[in-house]
Amino acid sequence: MAETASDEELVRERFRQLRATGDPALRDKIIIDHAWIPRTVARRFDQRGESFDDLAQVGSLGLVKAVDRFDPDMGTNFVSFAMPTVVGEVRRYFRDHTWSVRVPRSAKELKPLITKAIEQLQHETGRSPTVAEIAEHLQLDADTVLEAMEAAAAYRTSSLDAPTRDSDRSNDSHRGLAQNDRDLGRMVDATAIRQLLETLPGRSRMILYLRFFEHMSQAEIAEHVGTSQVHVGRLLKAGLEQLRQQIDPDDLTEFV
């Protein structure tokens, strides 16, 4: 569905109007007019077993980004501009293993590993190890090891403070999504999470992906996926809960 030269100029004109007025209805129209781009890209990537819908969703995220970024006076036409962005989004989603639910290697996680490493190295060398030796042993960089060893128990407690045992754990709405996010962030193994994410049904998976990988707010996700924010909240909570239940306690070093 190529655009003729006059089509291109029309599109550029619309963009100029959009930049001038910020009209959301106009923005939507431009997006809908170009919805064929993410669909085309999704079709191209679809053979690898991902669902077409998912890919199209992800691709349309790229489209939206392109719409928001495109400068009509730069001389390019919009389709040429948007295509790489859309392809990039889908590729990123694909890189499978980078649903990096940003798992920070917190000091609390590392400490037991470091303790074990020290014991082992002490046994091997007959003396206490150096920071560099510990780092080498754990395949971490020395700064990370040093920081973990120096991390203050007081700091860790205050930043990871969860509701006490007395609070009602089933009343998750009370804790808010931020707390759930922190819980998720404390899980150890990003690979395990990726595998778990794949067990979720498409919609939930998409929403969790958008939340943790694209760092979108619930409102943004709702707009993107085409549903209400309340529904997104519910799906996020349900998805997180499902993940929580499936996690093998042995895979975790620390979990509320």
């Binding site: 003396r127 206490s128 150096t130 920071v131 030796e133 120096e150």
Partner: protein
């Protein structure tokens, strides 16, 4: 940069950053800042973690003494570290140095125990405390 063979299969380049100077307000919360700086610098020398722990104790004693006996002026710490040695000199302005208290005796005893050499002096209105620790794991090993 010098290279040190720190053990089987590990070659570590030891940084020689020259002098690192830290100026701290004389507050209790700053003692920990001094410890963290000291341990970071000490870890550049590739000394063992036990020795780094000793340095943390020594620095802690040093800064605490300077805060308690100083006149409220900032505490200055000057670190020098290379392959063989870790040296830190801490100082602050003071009107006098009272060496009679139990606290002082305890702190200096600990300082002496954790360092190869240490000294506490009062000159020209400044208390100056020095601590030197030898790097045990270094070119000499293996």
């Amino acid at each position: 940069m010098t290279a040190t063979n720190a053990g089987p299969g590990i070659d570590v380049a030891v940084a020689d950053p020259g002098a690192v100077t830290l100026t701290l307000p004389p507050l209790p919360s700053m003692v920990r800042v001094g410890r963290l700086t000291a341990s970071s610098i000490a870890s550049l020398t590739n000394m063992t973690i036990d020795d780094i722990d000793d340095i943390k104790i020594g620095i802690s004693e040093m800064i605490t003494m300077l805060i308690q006996h100083g006149d409220g002026s900032p505490v200055t710490l000057c670190f020098e570290a290379d392959d063989d040695n870790f040296v830190v000199e801490g100082s602050t302005a003071a009107t006098r140095l009272d060496v009679s208290g139990n606290d002082f005796a305890l702190a200096t005893a600990v300082l002496e125990a954790v360092a190869e050499t240490s000294s506490v002096a009062f000159n020209d209105g400044r208390i100056v405390i020095r601590l030197m620790k030898a790097v045990a794991v270094g070119a000499a090993e293996r």
